[in-house]
Subunit: 747 residues, 2 copies
């Protein structure tokens, strides 16, 4: 926990410094920028390439907008449409113009902001609710208050930069006729947007709070921090199925969001895609509060949680810096996003100057134009950059860290993610004990992500598509077990939200890393436990992934265990039939979106399959029970608008009582289309056998090609290190001590 | 034609120099390396980073093999299997070891070659034909003589490097018991491999010729150059459906291969994938002949055709340096391939030192360890590198350049390829007038390529899969017209081989580039002409592609015009139905491999569709005739071994007599998953209308969003610049002069 200690020191130091600065600088800017910070930036110009480049890019963008002229159109469109995108571009440009005015001193930037705000203040009183009626909380400039809150968050920063440059009369007019009523609109007039615990509300809180800080409007700041008093309501849901439960004074607001949104490890229950989105208002409002209300000591709040959350976010990425697409998430969102440009630099500046973060900032290619960005650019210029050290870690979920977790195992080029966290509210997927696997090239076993093309108007305005509900959230769309054809929790968000997965063990020993967790609530009368291990095997070129999915359930249960492999099927060891016509695999619970391309009645001890992604080979070896079936699936049935990707998968189907699904996943070999030389293109696993399965134990034996044998034994209910275990195996007693045992057997 | 002139000068100069060197250096090496060349390489060591790196890589590879020990296993496996890959690795390693022996003088490399050859000479007399019986010409070490020829081509080079280092007795033994009988085996004993006109035979000729040159065995050299006398046979085909027609003395052999394989523009009738493969034996044997038989003046043969062929090859690539996958071709094969490393450096060294080639060599990251590689490394070190200037060009096909062509239009980021060449023999596809479209990101409209995973044993040993015949070669698998459900030429290779497409015009004016060609033989009673243009339109961000496919055919013909777009369908302007169950689209001619995912009865004047590849948007706008249908297809039906990619396509179906299919293709906008900001995501084409269509003319009018109008008029049968045309249009006469007219209309 070295990082946290350093963080505390750093934050305390920061707080002291800021208190001085606040007292000595009564003038503007003092929200995100400070007079001292601006001085520092000015004197660094021409000395720090990354900072200079970031200034140059901002200049280019803003100059182009100034050249194009101001346009403040009457609101009309949904996301992706002209008026939406124009107002969005306006607030981004104003924010940058404000910073440029401070750094360069060129008045044209201040004039641009003032002129634009004058157009907004003229238009604002004429606006009713936005004409599009899709949102539970319609905005003024935008179809949803969320975007109006975005506007306030960015525009507040611009306003702060020109606040004492603007004449008194104009300032009074803007305060009274634009900003205060706008802040009231998205709060008092839209309690369901503002007074709940949700990422939308975080934006609302930040927007109202930031403009309050700029105008020194304590009432707004107080409202932002603590929400406002209102009669509580419950059992309402928003467009995305999220809770709209209203919170009262001090039950809602910014501090309550921090209290409830993050676990003590900085994990955000909606998952990293939304955490990325929410981090910006969390951090930018925190920055404003740190500057203007140092007495709150916000950056040390809950043990420096906001900075810890950035580090949690950085760790929820693959080798390409892309976030794990847990829950509703558009794939490809990454550490390169706008929000993370601010967040990572803040984490560097206020979180103990971790030199590993500088490599991420270098990759981002730009820094925010503020103290954090300047500090990062200086660090990079001084040659302090190091590779970020990604480590295996378990990130707990829940405000108190006791409501499940996600487990992240990293070994060589492999990253394994297992989810046994909370449901994640309206954006959650029914995927308890699901997993994702990556290597250095990207996805090996994929999560579908959301069915949505964000902001792409062709696709229903860029919002969530109906297949997001009918496919992406369902259990069968994930790499986890479906019992009796129905999704977890009978697909009920409210029920799922009540409980979480149960962490069992999380080990990161040198040659064996294990994550094991239980899910006891997803199905009545069914207890599930998944144990995944990454083990080093000297004979193999890469670490091997062991997957033991144990179920205690009534006899006659039907199990479907899907695996969404990424690539082209090369071969299997079993005979199978493909179908000359395709039908959907079922009528509901997501099955209606799967074509059954083929099927096999599994025989022998193992099912083996190898696939290829154009660069490497991947193999699965699974234990087979008599009567098991395998279904080759293709996503895309019942997809009237071509909203789904035609990705392949397999489903291992079994009918029976309590059982264990045992598999290993292997990354091997390579191929290059220019040399056409394949290497190591076959699996090295000769056989996988379950030596023992019961309520309390599972033991498997692995035989490599060449006949070397390994044994993995696991105790499902007794994790004491001191416990000795002795159980029956096919060739006599199996004995070990502690929760697990992995060893090479004598040949 | 500046390049050719320079080339001639350079080659003449080279020839003179070589004549001197040959006379002055009677000793070895003198095949690919020369004593002077070796001196030059030695004295350059440590001075040229790219050359040094190439030496270091070769050293690393060979040292690792020496360390691992020699293995000369008994032949057993097909491609991909151990013995195949081992013998392949052996000849590559010997060739490098030979060069390293010369450059470094370290004897261990010579010893390695000698020891290995001693194992081969022991084994050779014990070998019958290879046990695998799949090939029409089974080899000794390999399943097909082709690979045995590869072995001779590489091993000859190694042998030359150690020829006078090896003791007399051993040399005599190797000559008499290994090399001469091996050369006889792949020639005299396998006439169907050696005495035909085919890339396989080129390897055979080169293998026999190179070992002949090393051993000063004039009989072998003569056989290599001119084949041997044999009774001619015809009407035989090989495993790939290629002609096995035997040629007699001076009708076959290396010189005849050059005569018949390339057009005067250096185009190779099988297409760039096989040209790449064939270039190595063509060039390496030519290098050997240039050194040892300068009197042949081989590099000036047919106007310096071999070097011209390398330039033709370089020009048949997309922005990623990947070859157009015309005919049987595995996608991804590129300028980075082993064969091109030698070829491009030779083209630089002997072809006039084009500084653009140095950028390709830099991208290859290595140079061949010979005179050409040294010259290239020196050029790069001297800072001479420039970007390669890709230009629009028509590459004629046929030995005399009068049998069709491929047309390549390049404009900004767009590359359009249209094929109206010869069939391409056994590896040809039935795709007359088919086209491919690329932008800077890669494929926009794709050709499927071949159904094969080269050398990947999982897939039927890495050879051609049966779907290559039943799908990839069929017309419906290409972006060209299918008439009455049957492939071109009734899918008969021999018939297709008899004729070629007919070039009509090829213009590369500044704002308008046009390729137009006719196909008169693919179907009885049907004349087809495709005219494709890339035009600059000031209102659009990218050039626009116009596609006018004219057909003269009997009434009642059924036309299917497929388009294999790359990406996800975003939207169309027409109502369509998707199917709740999928059936194959037909029973033969490739249709049996297409699922019909959906269909539309087209209405209105235009069909419009936009797709998205994750980074940019693409739109098609097509003119609709009453009764037209659109079918949304997905490849993958009747695919029992998962050999086909599940790629999407559309088929524009029309029934009628003579007609024109008019479309425009548009690249527009962008999107980034980190910013989630889409730009220009809708088509800018409001309407496309055919103003006139007849046997002799087609005129279309394009209306942009915003109502600007453009008109493109084309004369299909009169290409005289002086001709004046006046034809009827819906609003009066349309007049212009010359073959085409493209203009903006007054609003």
């Amino acid at each position: 926990m070295r990082i946290v200690v350093t963080l505390l020191t750093s934050c305390l130091f920061f707080t002291c410094k800021q208190q001085e600065s606040t007292s000595s600088s009564s003038g503007y800017p003092n929200l995100i920028l400070t007079k001292e910070g601006v001085e520092s930036m000015r004197s660094s110009l021409g000395k720090l390439p990354l900072f200079d480049r970031s200034v140059a890019v901002a200049r280019q963008e803003v100059d182009a907008e100034i050249e194009a002229g101001i346009d403040v159109p009457k609101p009309k469109d949904l996301a992706g449409g002209y008026t939406h995108e124009r107002h969005k571009a306006n607030f981004f440009t104003m924010q940058k113009a404000g910073v440029l005015f401070q750094i360069t001193g060129e008045e044209k930037y201040a004039v641009y902001i003032k002129d634009m705000l004058l157009e907004y203040v003229e238009m604002f009183p004429t606006l009713g609710k936005h004409p599009a009626t899709r949102s539970y909380a319609r905005g003024k400039l935008f179809w949803q208050c969320l975007n109006d809150a975005n506007w306030l968050v960015y525009t507040s920063q611009a306003y702060d930069c020109v606040y004492d440059w603007i004449d008194d009369e104009t300032r009074k007019k803007l305060n009274a006729e634009l900003f205060r009523p706008y802040a009231d609109y998205i709060s008092i007039e839209n309690p369901r947007f503002f007074n709940r615990l949700h990422n939308h509300s975080t934006w609302g809180n930040a927007g109202v709070g930031l403009i309050g800080l700029v105008m020194n409007d304590e009432e707004l700041v107080d409202r932002a921090l603590y929400a406002f008093d209102i009669e509580r309501e419950s059992d309402l849901i928003d467009n995305d199925g999220g809770s709209l439960n209203l919170m009262g004074y001090k039950e809602g607001g910014f501090l309550a969001q921090i209290d409830h949104s993050f676990s003590p490890d900085g994990y955000y229950t909606e998952g990293p895609y939304y955490q990325r989105y929410a981090m910006y208002p969390f951090l930018i409002f925190a920055q404003g509060l740190a500057n203007k209300k140092p007495e709150l000591d916000i950056l040390n709040y809950r043990d420096g949680l906001l900075i810890k959350a950035v580090n949690a976010l950085v760790n929820q990425t693959n080798a390409q810096g892309e976030f794990f697409p847990i829950n509703d998430a558009q794939k490809g969102m990454s550490l390169r996003s706008r929000e993370l440009v601010n967040a990572v630099s803040m984490a560097y500046h206020y979180g103990g100057n971790d030199p590993g973060l500088l490599s991420i900032i270098e990759d981002q290619g730009r820094v925010p134009l503020n103290d954090s960005g300047l500090a990062s650019a200086k660090g990079i210029d001084a040659g302090k950059t190091q590779d970020y050290q990604y480590k295996s870690m378990e990130l707990t979920d829940g405000a108190n860290g006791d409501e499940g977790a996600i487990g992240i195992l990293r070994s060589a080029d492999l990253t394994l993610v297992m989810k046994y966290a909370k449901h994640g509210m309206g954006h959650g997927h029914f995927d308890r004990l699901g997993f994702l696997l990556y290597d250095d090239l990207g996805e090996v076993i994929q999560d579908y992500g959301s069915v949505r093309w964000v902001n792409i108007e062709h696709k229903d305005g860029g919002g969530y598509l109906k297949e997001n509900h009918s496919w992406a959230k369902e259990t069968i769309a994930h790499n986890t077990l479906v019992v009796n054809k129905d999704s977890h929790f009978d697909r009920k968000v409210k029920v799922a939200d009540r409980t979480s997965g149960t962490p069992y063990v999380f080990f990161t020993d040198k040659d064996v890393q294990i994550v094991s967790a239980k899910e006891l609530n997803a199905y009545a009368d069914v207890a599930m436990q998944r144990t995944m291990a990454i083990v080093q095997i000297e004979e193999l070129e890469n670490p091997l992934v062991i997957d033991l999915f144990s179920v205690q359930a009534p006899t006659g249960s039907r199990y479907d265990l899907p695996l969404y492999y990424v690539g082209e099927l090369m071969s299997t060891n079993q005979e199978y039939q493909t179908n000359t016509g395709l039908k959907p695999l079922g009528r509901e619970s997501g099955y209606q979106h799967l074509w059954a391309e083929g099927q096999a009645e599994l025989k022998e001890n193992n099912f083996k399959m190898t696939w290829f992604n154009g660069k490497k080979f991947y193999s699965i070896t699974s234990c087979v029970r008599r009567g098991d079936e395998l279904i080759f699936t293709r996503i895309g049935a019942n997809d009237p608008n071509f909203n789904l990707r035609r990705d392949p998968g397999i489903i291992h189907r079994r009918t029976g009582g309590s059982t264990v699904f045992a598999s290993v996943y292997e990354v091997h070999g390579q191929y290059n289309y220019s040399s056409e030389i394949p290497e190591n293109l076959f699996t090295s696993i000769n056989d996988l056998t379950v030596l023992h399965e019961s309520k309390d134990y599972v033991v498997v034996q692995l035989t490599l090609v060449g006949d070397k044998k390994y044994r993995f034994a696991f105790s499902l209910n007794d994790k004491k290190e001191s416990s000795n275990h002795a159980i029956d195996g096919p060739n006599g007693q199996l004995e070990w001590s502690g929760v697990y045992d992995f060893k090479k057997l004598d040949s």
